[in-house]
């Protein structure tokens, strides 16, 4: 697989404080890559290194196979967490300026801006000053400015903060569309719901170190514990069923639903082998439901971070 960005043993210290310890990452092309971690873990430092705002003390970052160099800023788009615009500058003029800083010609920037303004139906904002817009409106402009130069790599740091749910949805769709068009996206957040929805790959950074990375589906597979939820239809809430099941599996929780006459049972299999589970269950009642419990990104996040807290 081709990688848009590869980091090799990147370390960075601020005085006595080490912000990044030997981070190595491979970010595949044309995917949405979740960069996760609690506040202060080092995500922003890593992103600033990719944007060449700061430089690593040691280690190398490769962009599209070449060591990161000043000309790469034109191929990278960055929406920082701490973001804003010149308040007293007009929307159109400001967008043109920022696009030109990214290397677009004025005419090119203008025609692309027109497209975006049409798409978002905000053409009448062109001559307004940022301070006359609402926070959500300003965030939309900020998003357009970030993606206008059609970068190969887009970096979003908490992109949905500052948006109401409707506009957050609009932005999410735009991010997915950009990915469809071939853009690689780094998505930094500590909110796990959006990770589930968007990310194919993730890396978890905690206390300046990478503690987990890979394909989200594979990580989930690695984190599952052969736990299944089942609904078993029986007429009587007899404990015999639970006892019998307890001989083959470990029963984690059970509850009898009086209205629907069934047990809701959560059980853990001794191995990954699921052969015979269904027949075993069918011995004691009607199997109304049987599903494997896949850990959520949130579960994985909390488990990994807490595990690190415990063992150092």
């Amino acid at each position: 697989m081709h990688h848009i960005l590869v980091a090799e043993n990147v370390s960075k210290s601020y005085g006595d404080y080490q912000a990044l310890k030997n981070i190595s990452l491979e970010i595949p092309e044309n995917t949405i890559y979740g960069l996760l971690g609690p506040n202060g873990a080092g995500k922003t430092t890593f992103i600033r290194i990719i944007n060449q705002i700061t430089y690593p003390d040691s280690g190398t970052v490769f962009f599209n196979g070449k060591p990161l160099a000043p000309e790469h800023v034109a191929s990278i788009g960055y929406l920082p967490e701490e973001r804003g615009l010149y308040k007293s500058m007009k929307v159109g003029e400001q967008a043109l300026y920022l696009a030109q800083l990214k290397g677009l010609s004025k005419s090119e920037a203008k025609s692309r801006l027109m497209e975006w303004f049409e798409r978002f139906e905000i053409g009448e904002w062109w001559n307004k000053k940022i301070q006359e817009l609402s926070k959500g409106m300003a965030q939309k402009i900020q998003f357009i400015v970030t993606v206008l130069h059609r970068p190969k790599l887009l970096i979003f740091d908490e992109p949905f903060s500052g948006f109401d749910p409707i506009n957050a949805g609009v932005i999410k769709d735009e991010i997915l569309r950009l990915k469809e068009e071939g853009t690689s996206i780094i998505f930094s957040t500590h909110r796990m719901e959006s990770v589930e929805e968007l990310c194919e790959h993730i890396a978890l950074i905690h206390r300046s170190e990478k503690i987990l990375d890979g394909k989200l589906s594979e990580i989930k597979k690695a984190f599952k514990n052969n736990i299944f939820n089942t609904n078993l239809g029986v007429l009587e809430p007899s404990k015999n069923v639970l006892q019998a099941l307890g001989e083959k599996f470990s029963v984690l929780s059970s509850e009898y639903n009086v209205e629907d006459n069934h047990w809701s049972i959560s059980l853990q299999l001794p191995s990954e082998d699921t052969k015979g589970v269904l027949t075993e269950l069918a011995k004691y009642g009607n199997v109304l439901k049987l599903e494997e419990v896949i850990p959520s990104a949130n579960d994985i996040f909390i488990k990994t971070v807490n595990g690190k807290e415990h063992y150092g």
């Binding site: 005085g15 960055y78 920082p80 701490e82 804003g84 615009l85 800083l101």
Partner: protein, 452 residues
């Protein structure tokens, strides 16, 4: 379609320039300042004129046989002689006629005694202007009288009193005149002062612009496209171009306004300087000088001003202005980056203003009187003060009688060194500071940032 990295500097300069010159308060300042300045000048001229037009009338009751005919009408004072009335009546009349005051000289056997017993009665305390004038009249008469006692005639007396001023010359035989050092230093001082004002005004603009980028949180967006140093440089250059624009507009429009108002309102600006002549011993002497040497002196002054090495002065002004401004405004930028809001800047600004103020004071007190003394030399070499102090020394030229060439070159060399060092340090603080939010940093923290 793609631009190279360094192409972006003009973009930044253009934005900073436009952001500044389109700013409402900037436009208002640009338009109002010349009007205010010219208005002030006209007001002062007008008030001076009114002040001069006020005439004092002093009643004189001279019961002695001395001082008669000595109280002559001047521009601002006339004297009315009272005769053969009592002192009380004279006082009453003075009051009822609304005169300024009453001078009473009682009868006495000698001039000395009469003078000693003389009184000036006034409603309010008289200004020293009035009393000095009267005292001089008495003094003159008394001196003549005393000399007469020693056998000196009136003719001889006026001979003795003839004013004297020393002739001055430089060693190479050029005639020089009193006050020329001050005049030259004043010309240089004007340049130095302009540099200081420019630094304080537009350095402050640079600082506020940096703070604005921090508080609006656009800074991280910008520096993901360009280097912080480019942004700082573009900001400093753009702001200074806006400053130069403003200065040029001020100078041109103030000159035009002044010219027009002088032409139409017929206000004599010379009244500002010469009109309010302070009667003092010096002025007395000047008035007794015959006309020819006066004109000669003006010619010499004019010649000296023309002889000021203008090319050298203006050339050096540009060098000192550019380097000095870059040094100071990069410090201003670093301060702006270190803080989150303008109120936090005070503790950092004072140490910057200090060398500037020092340069101006040292300039006015030491360089004016002795342009080549050790203090003047020291401060014109030290990079933080040299842009101002050296310019005060330079109107004397370089080489013989002026600034030794090595001093000028050393001063510029040190300034370039300081420029490189300070801009390097300031850009490091700037680079770290713009991404730091939260509490106001201490000097210790700023020092740590240098190592990031």
């Amino acid at each position: 379609m793609e631009r190279s990295i360094m192409d972006k500097l003009p973009l930044i300069i253009k934005r900073e320039y436009l952001a500044k010159v389109r700013n409402k308060s900037f436009i208002i300042m640009t338009i109002l300042s010349p009007i205010l300045i010219v208005g002030m000048i006209l007001l002062v001229a007008y008030l001076t004129k009114i002040n001069d037009n006020e005439k004092r009338i002093i009643a004189v009751l001279n019961e002695s046989t001395f001082f008669s005919g000595q109280f002559k009408i001047t521009e601002s004072t006339s004297y009315i002689q009272f005769r053969n009335i009592s002192l009380q009546k004279a006082k009453d009349s003075t009051l009822s006629l609304g005169y300024f005051g009453l001078l009473h000289i009682p009868a006495g056997p000698t001039m000395e005694e009469a003078a000693n017993a003389a009184y000036l009665f006034t409603k309010e305390n008289p200004s020293t202007l009035v009393t000095e004038r009267l005292e001089r009249i008495f003094q003159n008469q008394l001196r003549q009288e005393r000399l007469k006692g020693l056998g000196v005639s009136t003719d001889q007396f006026s001979n003795v009193e003839k004013a004297y001023s020393i002739n001055l010359s430089t060693f190479d035989g050029q005639r020089s005149i009193k006050g020329i050092n001050e005049l030259k230093a004043f010309v240089g001082g004007a340049f130095g002062y302009a540099i200081m004002m420019f630094i304080i005004i537009y350095g402050g603009f640079v600082m506020r612009s940096v703070i604005e980028e921090k508080t609006s949180r656009i800074i991280e967006v910008i520096i993901s496209s360009i280097k912080p140093f480019q942004l700082m440089l573009g900001k400093i250059i753009g702001t200074s171009l806006a400053g130069i624009t403003q200065f040029v507009i001020w100078i041109v429009s103030a000159s035009i306004l002044l010219f027009l108002s002088v032409a139409f309102l017929e206000i004599d600006l010379s009244e500002l300087s010469g009109g309010t002549s302070l009667p003092g011993p010096g002025m007395n002497n000047v008035s007794q000088l015959s006309a020819t040497p006066m004109e000669g002196e003006i010619l010499v002054y004019a010649k000296e001003i023309i002889n000021i090495p203008w090319a050298l002065l203006i050339g050096s002004f540009l060098v000192y202005f550019i380097l000095g401004y870059l040094i100071y405004s990069s410090i201003y930028a670093a301060i702006g980056a270190a803080v989150d809001n303008e109120t936090d800047t005070q503790q950092f600004i004072f140490p910057i203003i200090l060398p500037l103020m020092l340069a101006i004071y040292v300039g006015f007190f030491s360089v004016f009187s002795n342009p080549h003394g050790p203090i003047a030399v020291g401060f014109s070499l030290f990079p933080l003060t040299s842009p101002i102090v050296m310019l005060m020394r330079l109107p004397g030229g370089i080489g013989d009688g002026g600034v030794p060439l090595w001093q000028l070159l050393t001063s510029i060399g040190l300034l370039i060194g300081a420029f490189l060092g300070i801009v390097w340090l300031a850009s490091k603080i700037y680079r770290v500071g713009i991404l730091m939010y939260g509490k106001r940093p201490t000097y210790k923290e700023l020092f740590r940032w240098l190592k990031y």
